[in-house]
């Protein structure tokens, strides 16, 4: 068992790499322990929040039931606005709800805590890692393929790429790839930039000139954290909305 695990060090010639994730290799595949810990933690949080909010369901809603009904209505509204096929709406409402909550909690985790062990960051926002956000975008992409092929058949789905005019086929293919890339990198860029700035305010600005900069840095860090909460919520909303738009476009007959 000795050589099964292998640590991958990000050595960049003595430079500091901000927020180095702990990557280990197991049976030849690389695994990112930071992403695993963060997303498992947030999945458990979402699970417990949803279970806690949905105990004692009654006809006259009590306060906790109101909260979860409001959230469900919110994400159902997103799905209904962007997907016109009733059958797909039924399938997608749960996906939108879970994706929204999951991404929102993951965006908030990095503002709430960051755990460093030695040189590696062990707990941070999982969405500050491009691979995580690409996984979510890949889920949306594959779901859009599935829904499109279920509705139009495999041949009809490929024919849709050549509509309205035939020579737009390569442009539509490139549009798929662009949508995937921008969807994932938008979420990654927003969350990563917010975290890096927070780290810089705390570690560089606050200690550069002693007490005056510390007094300056404290409200600045608070303002930036508030702004990052806002940005994290907006980005979760935009991610879910754009996912629904991309899936919805595959199931509409033009």
């Amino acid at each position: 068992m000795g050589n099964v695990f292998e640590f991958i060090q990000h050595k960049k010639g003595g430079h500091e790499v901000l927020e180095k994730s702990f990557v280990f290799k197991f049976l030849g595949l690389s695994f990112d322990l930071t992403g695993i810990i963060g997303s498992t933690l947030m999945a458990l949080v979402v699970l417990f929040v949803c279970i806690w909010l949905s105990r004692k369901v009654e006809m006259k809603p009590n306060k906790r039931q109101n909260v979860i009904e409001y959230l469900l209505d919110f994400t159902d509204g997103i799905v209904k606005d962007n997907v016109s096929d009733k059958d797909a709406q039924k399938h997608l409402s749960l996906y939108a709800f879970v994706l929204f909550l999951f991404i929102w909690f993951m965006n908030m985790l990095g503002l709430f805590m960051e755990v460093k062990v030695g040189d590696w960051t062990v707990v941070k926002s999982p969405t500050a890692d491009p691979v995580t956000t690409m996984s979510f975008a890949m889920m949306t992409l594959l779901l859009s393929f599935t829904f499109g092929m279920q509705k139009f058949g495999v041949g009809g789905y490929w024919r849709n790429y050549a509509s309205p005019v035939g020579f737009l086929f390569p442009i539509n293919i490139i549009e798929e790839i662009t949508n995937f890339l921008t969807l994932s990198l938008r979420l990654y860029g927003n969350i990563y930039a917010g975290e890096v700035l927070l780290t810089l305010i705390g570690n560089r600005l606050a200690v550069s000139f002693g007490l005056p900069t510390m007094i300056l840095a404290a409200p600045l860090a608070m303002i930036w954290q508030a702004f990052s909460v806002f940005i994290g919520s907006i980005q979760a909303y935009v991610f879910v909305t754009l996912s629904m738009v991309y899936i919805g476009r595959k199931v509409t007959k033009e």
Binding site: K12, E16, V17, L18, L185, R186, G189, Y192, A193
Partner: protein, 74 residues
């Protein structure tokens, strides 16, 4: 010497990204405020669309900021 160029290029990338994002956002939010003034009952709808527009517009300038960080620290 290459340290100086690193700082300069990161600053230029961040500055141009800030200009681009604020110009684009300004156009969208201006039109939203005008439309809300014209038709107050569709304010909720306009607000949601504005947030989607801002999220889309800020995507690539944020990537430019990430590239500036990578230039500085990698």
């Amino acid at each position: 010497m290459s340290e100086a160029f690193k700082y300069l290029s990161a600053a230029i990338a961040a500055g141009v990204a800030a200009l681009a994002a604020s110009w684009g956002n300004g156009k969208v939010i201006t039109k939203t405020v005008e439309s809300m003034a014209r038709q107050p009952e569709s304010a909720g709808n306009l607000r949601s669309t504005m947030f989607i527009g801002v999220g889309l517009i800020e995507a690539v300038p944020i990537l430019a900021i990430v590239i500036a960080f990578l230039i500085l620290f990698l």
